[in-house]
Amino acid sequence: MTNAEPLHRVLGLTDEEAAKIESILGRRPNHLELAMYSVMWSEHCSYKSSKIHLRRLPSDGPHVLVGPGENAGVIDVGDGIAVAIRIESHNHPSAIEPYQGAATGVGGILRDIFTMGARPICLGDSLWFGSPDSPRARWITDGVISGISGYGNAVGVPTLCGETNFDSAYEGNPLVNVMCIGVLPTERLVLARATGTGNLAVLLGSTTGRDGIGGVSVLASAPLEDDDESAQKRPSVQVGDPFEEKRLIEACLELLDAGVVVGIQDLGGAGLTCATSETASRGGVGMDVDVSKVHLRQSGLEPFEVMISESQERMLAIITPDALNKLAEICNKWEVSYSVVGRVVPGNALRVTGPDGEVLAELPASSLADDAPVYNREIQVPAWYEARNFELGSRAPGVGDLGKEWLELMGLPGTGDKSWVYSQYDHQLFLNTVVGPGGDATVLKLKAPGLPKTDKGLAVSIDGNSRWCSLNPRLGAKLVVAESVLNLACAGATPKALVNCLNFGNPENPEVMWQLSETVDGLAEICNALKLPVVGGNVSLYNQSGTTDIPPTPVVATVGLINKLTHRPPGIGLVEGSTLYLLGNYDANVSGSRWAIDLHDYRGGALSEISLPAFSALAELVISLVRQRLVVSIHDISDGGMVTALSEMAIAGGVGFSIGGIQDSAELFSEGPGRVLIGILPQSSQSVVRMAGDLAVPVRELGYCEGDRLAIGGLMNISLGSVAEIWTRPS
């Protein structure tokens, strides 16, 4: 760092932002105050580049109890039960210390959930790595997966769904998005608000140390750079402690059950500064914080370090003074450390004091939490997009030897079996897992200690597709949501809520802002059409290696409700003697498909538009077929096209097929939206065809499930064993 550089710039604030701070305070901020603004006004905490776009997402619904803006979205699912859901990225920490970066990502998302009063019952992950051939990408891949496994398993929350993608575009900047779902008796819902003058602010959990100072402002809100100087500047990544978090979960839920807590908030990015200013600002009160009261890991921390440290596994609880004894009892039982660090006061000031009561900082709490600048950054439509080619048929490569290309596609690391990933995750804890990872949606019982009894079940799916989104961010986003919703439908679940994580490149690049804006519009369009509220999200910007931005990568997680979970859903496996049908339109558009890009490096063309009314009808049909138990196997067609769907179905069932009715090879590789494969027994066929007709969903009979070969008319005949072998081969 050069001496000439003014402090605010070193902390990541622009000159305009520094001027704004001065005008808010009516004076120059001191070092501590500037540090507090720098973390709270960081891109990561303030969403300053994305805020004006995110407002376009629909977030209302009769069942939405808590929408975006709180730690997690919460919906009412009836029977006295509410479900909390949240997704977050931990991309940059995972790039430099894969194990701990991913582990602390899991720790953070869990705190977002139990801070709402919900018991976490399901974790999920969306992972994007460079090519498995690259040693660096391998190191990141292995570290991230063991980090999620190491933390998630030890903290005792099962990891039940996810996706694993490989593309050299993520070589230097992997994406690690983690999702968590929690359940709570509706009346336990608490919000992160400080109220009641005289109430105490109590810091619970781990000691505060010098780790992760400025993580949000320097690490998460700027590009990763590879030169030595910035390696020195990089704040250390934190080490996660799942055992501390486990005790913290139990202690916090017990505190909430005992009615001891007025408000509670986790300490994530921006640490104590964020937790104190947000709870005070939301509650419309002021807060006095005594930094000398914070229990420290090492002595000699500066007040600014205490205020912005991102040490893990900490929570801030607001309690009435007479509840302190009860809090002490519960914390002692769970061996959770605590210290009273502050008090709720009248007014709106956040005041930080030192050991002798001297005032070290004093600023309007809301100015930290809510007054960060909002940028309407420049947007530019890329030239290639204006010139994109809608007529692709002539330019797309033709399919050569179908059997050979089929096997090649199934052998790609992105297509291959992911059980090597999810078998490292505990996916059965709590005895809720009716359908674990490996199928379309994860299906779980709605059950946890202290939760009212119900027959209802949840279905969850996490999806992203950067190939589609690169070609057309708006339509790509719609297709990603459609796929996610169709995954839920295949489990017989009605979609109830969606959260999204928007992973993009540098927002100072106008084309990246165009991708972001288009993505939001795409999400808004389909969510409005499906009446699917977006109850939360996260934005991760500055994802780039060198100067190359990552492809637009929105990731969505959807949660659906199954009204009576008394039977296992059909699953994807083919059943001997059943008949295969295709639901949905003929679509042979291979643009943006895995086949076109990964096998033929053909990146042109345009995605097929999705008709939302037709899609809704399809989803409704699928849900009815599953609920009425008319299908014995079911799988949607998405990533990897019909080839992948058919292969996965055959492998899962251990049964081959002999089908016809495929119009051309391209139809097999197309990832065109809104198509589902179903297997039905002869006695159900009439009802299925009738129901499809009633909803005007095209239905086509393909052929029979039998034997140990995959046979398609005169086009192809390969052995099931060869497909299974190449699909399960470790990449």
């Binding site: 140390g209 780790d211 250390s236 080490v239």
Partner: protein, 87 residues
């Protein structure tokens, strides 16, 4: 020449060490009151063939940087000793 190598990999001082902290919390209950600052690191031992001590040290440093430790959170210390023929 043959060398015996010991690499100790420890978390940097500023980084939390959950294993160390947990052991430290457990000790008083076992009757050990006077133990503090517990840190748990790795001790990695191996044999190495190299032309001389200088080369051996260089190789070990490289192995540390590339595989055994992540300098973002860990420090390493290295001991390289020639193996006596009689060993």
């Amino acid at each position: 020449m043959k060398f015996k190598v010991l690499v100790e990999v420890d978390l940097k001082a500023a980084i939390a060490d959950p294993a160390g902290a947990t052991i430290e919390r457990a000790l008083p209950a076992l009757g050990f009151e006077n133990i503090s600052q517990v840190r748990v690191g790795k001790a990695i031992r191996f044999s190495l063939d190299a032309a001389n001590s200088e080369e051996a040290r260089q190789i070990v440093q490289l192995v540390c940087d590339r595989l055994l430790a992540n300098p973002v959170i860990e420090d390493t210390s290295i001991v390289v000793e020639p193996v006596q023929a009689s060993d």
